[in-house]
């Protein structure tokens, strides 16, 4: 996904993504990322948790208006419910 993000950014469109793994993101270096600490298959956090999904999207988009270095990864943590994450 980071490669696609870089190509869109190079075309002149500002981008921001969710990172699910810091090691991969630091290698591929997309322009801007939010690392929320969620697992595979859960970039917006939890199913049927619209409040959390909205907060993650809001926070990610807010990075677009920050003065960040190219390739920045912003780490944030989010409270989660006790629901079981299904594989």
């Amino acid at each position: 996904m980071g490669l696609i993000q870089r190509i869109i950014e190079e075309a002149g469109i500002a981008t921001v993504s969710v990172s699910l793994n810091l090691a991969i993101t630091k290698k591929v270096k997309p322009p801007r990322s939010l690392y929320p600490g969620f697992g595979l298959g859960h970039p917006l956090g939890e199913a049927h948790n619209p409040g959390l999904q909205l907060q993650v999207l809001r926070d990610a988009l807010s990075l677009l208006e920050m003065d960040l270095e190219p390739g920045s990864v912003v780490v944030r943590s989010y409270p989660r419910s006790q629901q079981v994450v299904r594989a």
Binding site: M1, A14, T15, V18, G41, P50, Q53, L54, L57, E65
Partner: protein, 172 residues
């Protein structure tokens, strides 16, 4: 696709999900494209006036669209256009390399269409792009060249044609 391959792929996805440190090992050993620098395009105007699009690599597509090819071990570098005004229930997932039960139960988990509508409604963003784009992740080998040289640039051009100012991307 053989049932065996599907079972193997989904089992591996569950193992990676249960043991996140395995992804760090994957990052060290996989043939990832490594970059020393990143491009950066400033937002052209305040976010509250921007048109925002979504791109995912979760393998989403409309039920009636051709599914992604899961038989090729190097993945499928094609993409699907998703009209932004559809109901999220019109989508499904063809991608076996991540645990997808939660995403299938609520596709906003990987393509936040409804949260984006909420942000447009409250004025945090200016408007929503007319179409979103979906790839599948895990593109390797020759298909990486197609992704980098053809399909991703085609999506970038489509976003530009749609007047999109900013894009939010999700892996899975």
């Amino acid at each position: 696709m053989t049932t065996f391959k599907k079972l193997k792929d989904q089992t591996l996805a569950k193992v990676y999900a249960k043991i996140p440190s395995l992804l760090d090992l994957y990052a060290q050993r996989a043939g990832l494209v490594v970059n020393d620098a990143a491009p950066l395009t400033p937002l052209p105007r305040p976010l509250r006036t921007c048109r925002v699009g979504l791109v995912t690599t979760a393998g989403l597509h409309l039920h009636q669209q051709e599914p992604f090819d899961m038989t090729d071990k190097n993945g499928d570098p094609s993409y699907r256009e998703i009209p932004a005004n559809i109901g999220i229930g019109e989508l499904t997932i063809t991608h076996h390399y991540f645990p997808k039960a939660d995403a299938l139960a609520d596709l906003n988990l990987v393509l936040p269409m409804e949260p984006l509508r909420r942000l447009a409604g409250e004025g945090t963003i200016g408007s929503i792009a007319p179409r979103f784009f979906s790839f599948m992740g895990h593109i390797l080998g020759e298909h990486l060249k197609t992704l980098i040289g053809t399909t991703a640039p085609n999506v970038a051009a489509a976003l530009e044609a749609d007047g999109v100012d900013a894009v939010f991307l999700t892996p899975a």
